[in-house]
Protein backbone atom coordinates (compact mmCIF):
# COMPACT_ATOMS: atom_id res chain seq x y z
CA UNK A 1 0.00 0.00 0.00
CA UNK A 2 1.43 3.36 -0.93
CA UNK A 3 2.30 5.55 1.98
CA UNK A 4 2.41 9.21 1.09
CA UNK A 5 5.75 10.81 1.72
CA UNK A 6 3.93 14.07 1.44
CA UNK A 7 0.23 14.76 1.22
CA UNK A 8 -0.17 15.49 -2.42
CA UNK A 9 0.30 13.75 -5.71
CA UNK A 10 2.13 15.64 -8.36
CA UNK A 11 1.11 15.34 -11.97
CA UNK A 12 4.29 13.45 -12.83
CA UNK A 13 3.60 10.92 -10.08
CA UNK A 14 0.46 9.93 -11.94
CA UNK A 15 1.90 9.93 -15.43
CA UNK A 16 2.38 6.17 -15.50
CA UNK A 17 -1.41 5.72 -15.37
CA UNK A 18 -2.08 7.97 -18.31
CA UNK A 19 -2.14 5.31 -20.99
CA UNK A 20 -4.36 3.01 -18.97
CA UNK A 21 -6.82 5.82 -18.32
CA UNK A 22 -6.75 6.76 -21.97
CA UNK A 23 -7.76 3.21 -22.93
CA UNK A 24 -10.56 3.32 -20.40
CA UNK A 25 -11.79 6.61 -21.86
CA UNK A 26 -11.37 5.80 -25.55
CA UNK A 27 -13.40 2.63 -25.12
CA UNK A 28 -16.41 4.74 -24.28
CA UNK A 29 -15.78 8.09 -25.93
CA UNK A 30 -14.32 6.98 -29.24
CA UNK A 31 -12.73 10.30 -30.11
CA UNK A 32 -9.08 10.57 -29.18
CA UNK A 33 -9.24 14.29 -28.41
CA UNK A 34 -12.17 13.86 -26.08
CA UNK A 35 -10.56 10.88 -24.36
CA UNK A 36 -7.27 12.71 -23.89
CA UNK A 37 -9.03 15.74 -22.48
CA UNK A 38 -10.94 13.63 -19.97
CA UNK A 39 -7.74 11.93 -18.86
CA UNK A 40 -6.05 15.29 -18.40
CA UNK A 41 -9.03 16.59 -16.37
CA UNK A 42 -8.95 13.42 -14.30
CA UNK A 43 -5.27 13.76 -13.46
CA UNK A 44 -5.67 17.41 -12.55
CA UNK A 45 -8.68 16.63 -10.37
CA UNK A 46 -6.67 13.88 -8.72
CA UNK A 47 -3.81 16.23 -7.94
CA UNK A 48 -6.24 18.73 -6.45
CA UNK A 49 -8.01 16.15 -4.35
CA UNK A 50 -5.03 14.06 -3.33
CA UNK A 51 -6.46 13.99 0.17
CA UNK A 52 -9.35 11.85 -0.95
CA UNK A 53 -6.99 9.00 -1.75
CA UNK A 54 -7.19 6.73 1.26
CA UNK A 55 -4.86 4.01 0.07
CA UNK A 56 -7.59 1.41 0.44
CA UNK A 57 -7.58 0.71 -3.26
CA UNK A 58 -4.75 1.09 -5.75
CA UNK A 59 -3.99 4.52 -7.16
CA UNK A 60 -5.15 3.30 -10.54
CA UNK A 61 -8.51 2.20 -9.18
CA UNK A 62 -8.93 5.57 -7.50
CA UNK A 63 -8.09 7.44 -10.71
CA UNK A 64 -10.49 5.24 -12.65
CA UNK A 65 -13.30 6.17 -10.28
CA UNK A 66 -12.66 9.85 -10.96
CA UNK A 67 -12.51 9.23 -14.69
CA UNK A 68 -15.84 7.37 -14.59
CA UNK A 69 -17.58 10.51 -13.37
CA UNK A 70 -15.89 12.59 -16.03
CA UNK A 71 -17.12 10.17 -18.69
CA UNK A 72 -20.68 10.20 -17.38
CA UNK A 73 -20.65 14.01 -17.46
CA UNK A 74 -19.19 14.12 -20.94
CA UNK A 75 -21.75 11.64 -22.23
CA UNK A 76 -24.53 13.68 -20.72
CA UNK A 77 -23.21 16.78 -22.46
CA UNK A 78 -22.96 14.89 -25.76
CA UNK A 79 -26.36 13.29 -25.44
CA UNK A 80 -27.96 15.83 -27.72
CA UNK A 81 -25.48 15.50 -30.53
CA UNK A 82 -26.39 12.90 -33.14
CA UNK A 83 -24.97 9.41 -32.86
CA UNK A 84 -22.32 8.89 -35.47
CA UNK A 85 -22.65 5.82 -37.59
CA UNK A 86 -19.77 3.60 -36.63
CA UNK A 87 -19.94 1.22 -39.54
CA UNK A 88 -17.36 3.26 -41.41
CA UNK A 89 -14.91 2.87 -38.57
CA UNK A 90 -15.21 -0.89 -38.37
CA UNK A 91 -12.07 -2.93 -38.44
CA UNK A 92 -13.94 -6.08 -39.29
CA UNK A 93 -14.03 -5.18 -42.94
CA UNK A 94 -11.35 -7.48 -44.09
CA UNK A 95 -12.53 -11.00 -44.07
CA UNK A 96 -12.14 -13.24 -41.05
CA UNK A 97 -10.73 -15.86 -43.43
CA UNK A 98 -7.86 -13.52 -44.20
CA UNK A 99 -7.22 -12.98 -40.53
CA UNK A 100 -7.25 -16.68 -39.80
CA UNK A 101 -4.83 -17.39 -42.62
CA UNK A 102 -2.22 -15.42 -40.67
CA UNK A 103 -2.15 -18.20 -38.15
CA UNK A 104 -3.69 -21.26 -39.80
CA UNK A 105 -3.15 -23.30 -42.94
CA UNK A 106 -6.10 -23.90 -45.21
CA UNK A 107 -6.71 -27.28 -43.56
CA UNK A 108 -7.15 -25.54 -40.19
CA UNK A 109 -3.82 -26.58 -38.67
CA UNK A 110 -1.46 -24.04 -37.12
CA UNK A 111 1.01 -22.49 -39.54
CA UNK A 112 3.47 -22.81 -36.72
CA UNK A 113 2.27 -24.36 -33.48
CA UNK A 114 2.70 -21.66 -30.81
CA UNK A 115 5.46 -22.46 -28.32
CA UNK A 116 5.03 -22.62 -24.56
CA UNK A 117 5.64 -19.46 -22.53
CA UNK A 118 8.01 -19.87 -19.65
CA UNK A 119 7.02 -18.49 -16.24
CA UNK A 120 4.47 -16.01 -17.54
CA UNK A 121 3.31 -14.92 -14.07
CA UNK A 122 6.82 -13.65 -13.25
CA UNK A 123 6.41 -11.08 -15.99
CA UNK A 124 4.05 -9.01 -13.83
CA UNK A 125 7.01 -7.92 -11.72
CA UNK A 126 8.92 -6.67 -14.71
CA UNK A 127 8.39 -3.11 -15.94
CA UNK A 128 9.67 -4.09 -19.36
CA UNK A 129 6.85 -6.58 -19.68
CA UNK A 130 4.26 -3.88 -19.07
CA UNK A 131 5.96 -1.70 -21.64
CA UNK A 132 5.73 -4.48 -24.24
CA UNK A 133 2.15 -5.13 -23.21
CA UNK A 134 1.16 -1.46 -23.69
CA UNK A 135 2.82 -1.48 -27.09
CA UNK A 136 0.88 -4.57 -28.10
CA UNK A 137 -2.38 -2.90 -27.03
CA UNK A 138 -1.40 0.18 -29.05
CA UNK A 139 -1.03 -2.00 -32.14
CA UNK A 140 -4.63 -3.22 -32.07
CA UNK A 141 -6.87 -1.65 -34.74
CA UNK A 142 -8.94 1.16 -33.21
CA UNK A 143 -12.38 -0.38 -33.06
CA UNK A 144 -11.03 -3.81 -32.17
CA UNK A 145 -9.19 -2.18 -29.30
CA UNK A 146 -12.36 -0.43 -28.10
CA UNK A 147 -14.29 -3.69 -28.12
CA UNK A 148 -11.51 -5.37 -26.17
CA UNK A 149 -11.25 -2.56 -23.60
CA UNK A 150 -15.01 -2.53 -23.10
CA UNK A 151 -14.82 -6.25 -22.40
CA UNK A 152 -11.61 -6.48 -20.37
CA UNK A 153 -11.25 -3.06 -18.76
CA UNK A 154 -14.82 -1.81 -18.41
CA UNK A 155 -16.05 -5.37 -17.90
CA UNK A 156 -19.14 -5.15 -20.12
CA UNK A 157 -21.01 -8.19 -21.39
CA UNK A 158 -20.75 -8.82 -25.12
CA UNK A 159 -24.34 -7.72 -25.66
CA UNK A 160 -23.65 -4.28 -24.22
CA UNK A 161 -20.45 -3.95 -26.20
CA UNK A 162 -22.41 -4.50 -29.41
CA UNK A 163 -24.80 -1.74 -28.39
CA UNK A 164 -22.04 0.65 -27.43
CA UNK A 165 -20.23 0.09 -30.72
CA UNK A 166 -23.44 -0.27 -32.75
CA UNK A 167 -22.31 -3.52 -34.35
CA UNK A 168 -23.84 -6.98 -34.66
CA UNK A 169 -23.20 -9.70 -32.12
CA UNK A 170 -21.23 -11.80 -34.54
CA UNK A 171 -19.09 -8.82 -35.48
CA UNK A 172 -18.49 -8.26 -31.83
CA UNK A 173 -17.29 -11.80 -31.26
CA UNK A 174 -15.06 -11.62 -34.29
CA UNK A 175 -13.48 -8.43 -32.98
CA UNK A 176 -12.86 -9.88 -29.55
CA UNK A 177 -11.42 -13.01 -31.14
CA UNK A 178 -9.06 -10.91 -33.23
CA UNK A 179 -8.04 -8.82 -30.29
CA UNK A 180 -7.18 -11.89 -28.24
CA UNK A 181 -5.29 -13.66 -31.01
CA UNK A 182 -3.50 -10.49 -32.04
CA UNK A 183 -2.45 -9.72 -28.50
CA UNK A 184 -1.38 -13.31 -27.87
CA UNK A 185 0.84 -13.33 -30.92
CA UNK A 186 2.25 -9.89 -30.13
CA UNK A 187 3.14 -10.80 -26.54
CA UNK A 188 4.81 -13.94 -27.76
CA UNK A 189 6.86 -12.06 -30.31
CA UNK A 190 7.63 -9.02 -28.20
CA UNK A 191 8.19 -10.72 -24.91
CA UNK A 192 8.21 -14.47 -24.57
CA UNK A 193 10.37 -15.18 -27.60
CA UNK A 194 12.54 -12.17 -27.09
CA UNK A 195 15.58 -12.78 -24.93
CA UNK A 196 16.65 -9.17 -24.58
CA UNK A 197 14.86 -8.78 -21.25
CA UNK A 198 16.43 -11.83 -19.69
CA UNK A 199 19.68 -10.50 -18.38
Amino acid sequence: MPTPDNNTFRLEDLAEHRRYLFRYAIAQMRERDVAEELVQETLLAAVESSDSFQGKSSVRTWLTAILKYKIIDAKRRDAKSPVVDLASALDAEDDIEDFDSLYFKSDGHWQEPPPAWSNPAQSFENNMFWKAFEECLDNLPATTARAFYLREITGLETEDICKELAITTSNCWVMLYRARMNLRECLERRWFQSTSHRG
Binding site: P2, R60, T61, H109, W117, R151, W173, L176, R180, R184
Partner: protein, 67 residues
Protein backbone atom coordinates in the same frame (compact mmCIF):
# COMPACT_ATOMS: atom_id res chain seq x y z
CA UNK B 1 -13.06 -33.53 -35.11
CA UNK B 2 -12.66 -29.76 -35.04
CA UNK B 3 -9.56 -28.17 -36.52
CA UNK B 4 -7.11 -26.05 -34.52
CA UNK B 5 -8.58 -22.98 -36.19
CA UNK B 6 -12.11 -23.82 -35.08
CA UNK B 7 -10.92 -24.68 -31.59
CA UNK B 8 -9.09 -21.35 -31.35
CA UNK B 9 -12.31 -19.52 -32.09
CA UNK B 10 -14.09 -21.45 -29.38
CA UNK B 11 -11.21 -21.14 -26.89
CA UNK B 12 -11.26 -17.38 -27.31
CA UNK B 13 -15.06 -17.27 -27.19
CA UNK B 14 -14.97 -18.90 -23.75
CA UNK B 15 -13.92 -15.54 -22.38
CA UNK B 16 -16.88 -13.78 -23.93
CA UNK B 17 -19.81 -16.17 -23.84
CA UNK B 18 -20.71 -19.55 -22.39
CA UNK B 19 -20.08 -22.41 -24.80
CA UNK B 20 -22.82 -24.89 -25.54
CA UNK B 21 -22.50 -28.42 -24.24
CA UNK B 22 -21.70 -29.63 -27.72
CA UNK B 23 -19.01 -26.99 -28.20
CA UNK B 24 -17.46 -27.81 -24.85
CA UNK B 25 -17.36 -31.48 -25.75
CA UNK B 26 -15.77 -30.78 -29.13
CA UNK B 27 -13.10 -28.58 -27.58
CA UNK B 28 -12.41 -31.13 -24.86
CA UNK B 29 -12.00 -33.86 -27.45
CA UNK B 30 -9.60 -31.78 -29.50
CA UNK B 31 -7.51 -30.77 -26.49
CA UNK B 32 -7.01 -34.42 -25.61
CA UNK B 33 -4.86 -34.71 -28.70
CA UNK B 34 -3.47 -31.25 -29.30
CA UNK B 35 -0.77 -29.71 -27.11
CA UNK B 36 -0.54 -26.54 -29.19
CA UNK B 37 -4.18 -25.64 -28.53
CA UNK B 38 -3.80 -26.43 -24.83
CA UNK B 39 -0.88 -24.00 -24.69
CA UNK B 40 -2.83 -21.32 -26.51
CA UNK B 41 -5.76 -21.68 -24.16
CA UNK B 42 -3.52 -21.29 -21.12
CA UNK B 43 -1.96 -18.25 -22.77
CA UNK B 44 -5.38 -16.70 -23.30
CA UNK B 45 -6.10 -17.34 -19.61
CA UNK B 46 -2.84 -15.65 -18.73
CA UNK B 47 -3.91 -12.65 -20.78
CA UNK B 48 -7.13 -12.38 -18.80
CA UNK B 49 -5.02 -12.33 -15.60
CA UNK B 50 -2.77 -9.73 -17.18
CA UNK B 51 -5.75 -7.49 -17.86
CA UNK B 52 -6.84 -7.91 -14.24
CA UNK B 53 -3.40 -6.82 -13.07
CA UNK B 54 -3.44 -3.98 -15.55
CA UNK B 55 -6.70 -2.67 -14.12
CA UNK B 56 -5.26 -2.54 -10.63
CA UNK B 57 -2.02 -0.98 -11.77
CA UNK B 58 1.42 -1.19 -10.24
CA UNK B 59 1.41 -2.11 -6.57
CA UNK B 60 4.79 -0.71 -5.62
CA UNK B 61 5.09 2.58 -3.78
CA UNK B 62 3.23 4.83 -6.14
CA UNK B 63 3.71 8.12 -4.44
CA UNK B 64 7.43 8.00 -4.84
CA UNK B 65 8.92 10.94 -6.60
CA UNK B 66 11.54 10.73 -9.26
CA UNK B 67 14.96 9.96 -7.90
Amino acid sequence: MLSCKEVSHLNAARFDRPLSLRERFQVWLHLKFCDACIRVFSQLKFMRETMEQYRVGPSRNEKRHKD
